[in-house]
Structure formats: C-alpha cells, structure tokens
C-alpha cells in the first residue's frame, strides 16, 4: 500500500483526474473532499460492502423459482386493491 502524509488542505491526485483533498481533521475523524469525473463512483467502504452483499442475496436462483414465483403471485393479488404509487423522488437536492 502506498502511504502518503498530507497536511490540511493538501491534495493527492490519482490517475490524473481524481483529486482527494484533506478538508478537516478532528480527533480520529478525517473529512475528505473527492473531485472526480462523473463515471467514477465513490462510496464509503462499509456501505459499498453492505450493498454488494444485499445484491448477492437478492439474485434469484432458478432452483427455488417455483416457490418464489408462487409467493409473488399470491402477494401480487394485493396490488389490484391498492392505490397507485406516488412519485418517490424530488429532483431538487
């Protein structure tokens, strides 16, 4: 692993296009600013891992398909009796 020392306000550059700035250091909490092109995604590691695990559990196996399919059909009866969903989103952020 590459280890670099940086002072407050200083940056590192990764692959010519990703800039990481040390914004704040308070006790054992470091705030980082990341500037990167849109196609680069940046996540907190623990959240990233949680999503990957959840996605893997969600992937359906063809073996259990019938049970799952029957349950979905049974639960699906609900939707004929409920009101349509309103929008989930606000685009103002």
């Amino acid at each position: 692993m590459l280890v670099l020392s940086r002072k407050l306000g200083e940056k590192i550059v990764i692959d010519n296009e990703i800039f990481v700035t040390i914004l704040d250091v308070r006790g054992d909490v470091v705030r980082l600013g990341v500037e990167a092109p849109k196609r680069i995604t940046v996540h907190r590691e623990e959240i990233y891992k949680e999503i990957v695990t959840s996605n893997q559990l969600a992937q359906q196996k063809a073996t259990g398909h019938l049970t799952v399919s029957n349950t979905l059909s049974k639960v699906g009866e609900l939707s004929k009796q409920v009101t349509p969903a309103k929008s989930n989103l606000n685009t103002k952020s």
């Binding site: 849109k38 196609r39 995604t41 996540h43 907190r44 959240i47 990233y48 949680e50 999503i51 990957v52 695990t53 959840s54 996605n55 893997q56 559990l57 969600a58 992937q59 359906q60 196996k61 063809a62 259990g64 398909h65 049970t67 799952v68 399919s69 349950t71 979905l72 059909s73 049974k74 639960v75 699906g76 009866e77 609900l78 939707s79 004929k80 009796q81 409920v82 009101t83 969903a85 309103k86 929008s87 989930n88 989103l89 606000n90 685009t91 103002k92 952020s93």
Partner: protein
C-alpha cells in the same frame, strides 16, 4: 411515423427464449454493485398488475432479480435524487425516472421478503439508462426492509390485505 419495434431474441433460464423490444432494454451506465460486468437487462412483469417485476440479465441467462416499488406496499419511500445521479442519467424532472428496489426472497420463508432501500435501481424512462444509486447520506434506509410486516401475515400464511391497505392510505394522505 411509427416504426415497428426492433426485437432481440434472448435466452433465459426461467422464461425460456424471449423476444424483447430493443427500445425497452435497460442499460446500466453504473452497475448493480457486485455485478459490474452485466450491463443489459430486460424488465418483465411478474403477471398482470403485479407489484413485482423481474430484472433479467441479457448477458447471464441464469441471473434475474425480483424488483418492486415499496410504495406499493405502503412504505413511505422517498428521497432526493442527488445532483450527480441527475447528470449521469440526464434527468430533468422526477417524472423522467422510475424507482425500483431489489427484493430478496428467502426460500424457507418467502413472505419475509425484504427490499434494499439503501441501493435503489433508478432508470430513465426514455433513454432506459439505469444505475444503482446508493443513498449515502440517508440514515433511515436499510438494505433489509420487510415488505410485508409480521402483523399482515396470518398464521395460515395468508395475507391480511387491510393491514397493507391502511399503511397505503397513511402514506398517500
């Protein structure tokens, strides 16, 4: 002028050989995490008017996810679409996109199905470009939110509709 749809023949393990309209194919511009190599998916209704859909990989015939919109189960599921996501998917208005959550259905107790609220799939209705969004800054959403609460499941495994309907009314009021 109307053009006839361009159909693509795909192979799936569950649904056999299916023709899908090219224009309906969903392309992930940012991946479903952990499935980074899979870009193209088709969305099938489970059956008419079902709250569930199947997100079927076009690159892996065996891979499919069950997806739904949790508001159909009376969940108050709302978030701000971050600026970066708007620009990645070229979203102008909230109506441009659809929101779906991945559903995990445990084989031994399928009614205890959960939805991943933390990492919703969003896609643009017109371009069909999609991404898995991670709601980094929201504290309230988990990856294992029960869609059907215990109190809505009867001892014999049937579902008390009225429990879900009353949740629905609360959310929509």
């Amino acid at each position: 002028m109307t053009t006839s749809p361009q159909l693509r023949q795909i192979q799936t393990e569950r649904f056999g050989a299916v023709s899908v309209d090219e224009a309906s194919i969903i392309t992930f511009v940012q991946p479903i995490l952990g499935f980074d190599s899979l870009k193209e998916f088709a969305l099938f209704d489970h059956d008419d008017a079902s709250p569930f859909k199947w997100l079927q990989s076009l690159e892996d015939p065996s891979l499919a996810f069950v997806v739904t919109n949790p508001t159909l189960f009376g969940h108050d599921y709302e978030f701000n679409l971050p600026q970066e996501a708007c620009s990645v998917l070229n979203v102008q208005r909230a109506e441009d996109v659809q929101v779906l959550t991945l559903v995990t259905v445990p084989e031994e107790s399928p009614l205890h199905m959960t939805a991943n609220f933390l990492g919703p799939i969003i896609f643009h209705n017109d371009t069909r470009h999609a991404m898995q969004l991670i709601l980094e800054d929201s504290e309230i959403y988990g990856t294992k939110v029960r869609l059907i609460p215990d109190e809505a499941i009867a001892a014999d495994g049937s579902i008390h509709l009225e429990v879900i309907q009353s949740k629905q009314k609360r959310v929509n009021s």
